[in-house]
């Protein structure tokens, strides 16, 4: 009865596919609707924070930092409350990471300030003398891509019903109208910073990567 499987490459391929696809269906499907429900009161990321998340991805912070506090006392003492599934509902992609060369960042906004991040990104050793993290000085000069962040917000609103307001509509005109709101948010961050170039850039209506990045990190609570 098994000869057809061994001799016919088509049936063989179908057989392999059924066997391997089965596990995926069972593992992933049952939980889908439930796990995507946000915790109450969870707000979607602001456009500036999304731009910051892009910087986080671009410079691949995920290589060394997790965003997942596991249910152990040693972890909750160190990083704060245990992470809940619903807190990640607007994370596309998820950024849990798989390695903690540096500490967890899921609630870093609770215990670090704009000022601390500014010093740390410019020169990690200035705040943590034994740190092995590289400095990210280029974030102070490179500009964040806030237009793409706006496009992302519009996309998740349109496709996945993420609750953004009517001002996020994915049109060119909508973006021109919305841009000042993002700059306003950036100014608030820059006000707490001391780097002159960054302050000047924000005053000119530009958003350096570091500003978006700090907005994102402050949001992680």
């Amino acid at each position: 009865m098994f000869h057809w499987l061994e001799k016919n490459p088509f049936f063989f391929a179908v057989g392999v596919f059924v066997v391997i696809a089965f596990a995926g269906l069972i593992e992933i499907l049952p939980n889908f609707a439930e796990a995507s429900r946000p915790v109450t009161g969870l707000k979607p990321y602001s456009v500036l924070e999304l731009a910051g998340k892009e910087v986080y991805k671009k410079d691949n912070c995920i290589a060394c930092h997790s965003q997942l506090i596991r249910p152990f006392k040693s972890e909750t003492d160190r990083y704060g409350q245990v992470s809940l599934s619903g807190e990640y509902a607007y994370d596309r992609p998820f950024l849990w990471g798989s390695k903690r060369t540096g500490p967890d960042l899921h609630r870093v906004g609770n215990y670090r300030t704009t000022d601390w991040h500014e010093n740390h990104m410019w020169d990690p050793k200035s705040v943590v003398p034994q740190s092995i993290m590289p400095a990210y000085k280029h974030m102070f000069t490179n500009l964040a891509d806030i237009e793409t962040a706006y496009a992302e917000a519009s996309t998740v609103k349109a496709v996945f019903n993420t609750p953004y307001g009517p001002e996020i509509d994915g049109t060119k005109a909508g973006w021109e109208k919305y841009k000042p709101t993002v700059l306003e948010e950036a100014k608030k961050i820059a006000a707490d910073m001391k780097n002159k170039d960054v302050k000047d850039a924000v005053a000119r209506g530009e958003v350096p990567e570091i500003v978006a990045m700090i907005a994102y990190l402050n949001r992680l609570k």
Binding site: I20, I28, S36, L68, F72, E75, D77, S85, K99
Partner: protein
């Protein structure tokens, strides 16, 4: 059979992929060694400005090794083994020749694009699935052309039975296709809006915990179907062929094939133990990881027993040495993996250096050793010259074996030390160490690991040198060797 008298296997595509295997292997390991050194000596982060930090280079390392070196190796061996076990030459079909070449050149262009976009920081942000959607599309086309080559070759075969190696190659093809497609589902933001922002950017179809599930279902099984399945395919061909001994038990190889197919996919959620995915899924990942020892060891024991009665070859043929060591490391890492998937062990091991330690005894000891052995075996047949130097091969073997041992032992100690320090509390229940204490303590192990990296890299350069010399300067062979590869 007279019309076949002049017919020969055509290795032109296998040769092309052999070159890229060597090239990407060197690049991937060079970057790997550099980033290992960066953890020990952070000043090395500033060699290339923005483009040379650990964080930017780490995906370069993983992707070049996985999608550059390993895939090239898989394809080099497929275009060699595929013809031989089906007893049909690619030269018999103009179409298949074209597909093979098309497959290679598109792959080469795709690899260049991938490297450039990664260096520029264009990423989806998912580990091992970092490429943005335009590159994903190129990858799909590359993959489909491989599929056409596989089934095209099978379509014109003379040998009706598909040899076990082909089973594994087909499983690799199907498995990766399914995983890659589903994990990379995303919506390009440029087209979902009025062409706002970057053309390359996209958002994942899944969010949060769901994204994590799909990602590790992919991540774990990409290892299964990229680092295990095709490498088993290689052992099942090259070990018998090089030693002149048939597989110890062909039936066992068929059984462990189905066992592996069935069990492997379930184990993906062991990457998410103690996370926010449902408990039953974590437990299932844990349990199936342990069950996975059975089919894995079934294959491994079958490989080792193939040498039954011929163990003397181990001492006088370095190629057999490479393959037997690879099978042994396969046993080691398929035992180590399930141990790490046990919930209580995972609580300590997860997020620490024990995980890269595990990955590297698998990849350095099993994948790279087996691919190098396969290429060494193919070289005299493809280039019709004997292997350039046996003694260089011996030296390379011992250097790299030492390197792997140094690598995983240092990372075991580093990982367990750090895992224990994170949870250590004093008599009042307060945490004993600040995070940075647990980083500073790792310095000596990072130095050892970097050293191991340098040793392994040197070994790989010896391999590359030996291969290049074999292609160009070695003694020519009058006749194709049947079993044992001739070497000077």
């Amino acid at each position: 059979m007279q019309s076949n008298a002049a017919l020969e296997y055509d290795y032109s595509v296998a040769k092309l992929f052999t070159y890229t295997t060597i090239l990407f292997g060197f690049l991937g390991m060079l970057i790997g060694t550099l980033i290992a050194a960066q953890l020990a000596f952070p000043e090395l982060n500033y060699l290339l400005g923005e483009y040379g930090t650990f964080s930017r280079l780490r995906p370069m390392h993983t992707n070049i090794v996985i999608f550059g070196f390993t895939l090239s190796g898989i394809w080099a061996t497929f275009y060699y083994v595929g013809q031989r076990v089906l007893k049909v030459s690619m030269a018999e079909s103009k179409f298949l020749m074209f597909m093979g070449k098309f497959h290679f050149w598109l792959y080469f262009v795709g690899a260049l694009l991938a490297v450039i976009t990664l260096e520029l920081g264009m990423t989806q942000g998912k580990e091992y699935a970092v490429f943005e959607w335009p590159i994903d599309i190129v990858i799909v086309i590359i993959w489909v052309s491989w599929g056409i080559s596989i089934f095209g070759l099978i379509g014109i075969r003379r040998e009706k039975t598909l040899y076990i190696s082909l089973w594994y190659y087909i499983a690799c093809f199907l498995g990766i296709a399914m995983l890659y497609l589903f994990n990379n589902m995303s919506v390009p933001t440029y087209f979902a809006t009025e062409n706002l922002g970057s053309f390359m950017h996209s958002v994942s179809m899944y969010s949060g915990t769901n994204d994590a599930l799909v990602q590790w279902w992919y991540g774990h099984n990409a290892v299964a179907f990229g680092f295990t399945v095709p490498i088993v395919a290689m052992v099942y061909y090259f070990l018998p062929k090089e030693s002149g001994q048939a597989i110890y038990s062909y039936k066992l190889s068929l059984l462990s094939f189905w066992g592996l197919m069935f069990v492997y996919l379930w184990a993906g959620s062991h990457h998410l133990i103690w996370s926010t995915v449902p408990d039953w899924m974590q437990t299932m990942g844990s349990v199936f990881s342990v069950v996975l020892i059975l089919p894995s060891w079934g294959s491994a024991i079958n490989m080792l027993l193939t040498m039954k009665g011929e163990w003397n070859q181990l001492t006088d043929n370095p190629l057999i040495k490479f393959m037997v060591l690879a099978s042994t490391f396969y046993m080691l890492s398929t035992l180590e993996g399930p141990i790490q998937a046990i919930k209580s062990v995972n609580a300590i091991a997860h997020f620490t250096d024990w995980i890269p330690g595990h990955v590297h005894d698998g990849v350095l000891g099993w994948v790279v050793f087996m691919i190098m052995a396969a290429l060494f075996h193919m070289a005299p047949r493809m280039f019709k010259r004997e292997i350039y130097s046996k003694s260089l091969m011996e030296k390379q073997f011992w250097l790299q074996t030492t390197a792997v041992v140094l690598y995983f032992t240092s990372m075991w100690i580093a990982g367990i030390t750090q895992g224990m320090m994170w949870r250590a509390v004093d008599e009042y229940g307060n945490l004993m160490y600040s995070f940075i204490d647990t980083v500073a303590v790792l310095h000596p192990y990072y130095v050892i690991r970097a050293l191991a990296g340098v040793m392994y890299l040197v070994g790989f350069i010896m391999f590359a040198y030996n291969m290049v010399k074999t292609m160009t300067a070695s003694k020519e062979l009058a006749q194709e060797p049947q079993f044992r590869s001739p070497m000077a």
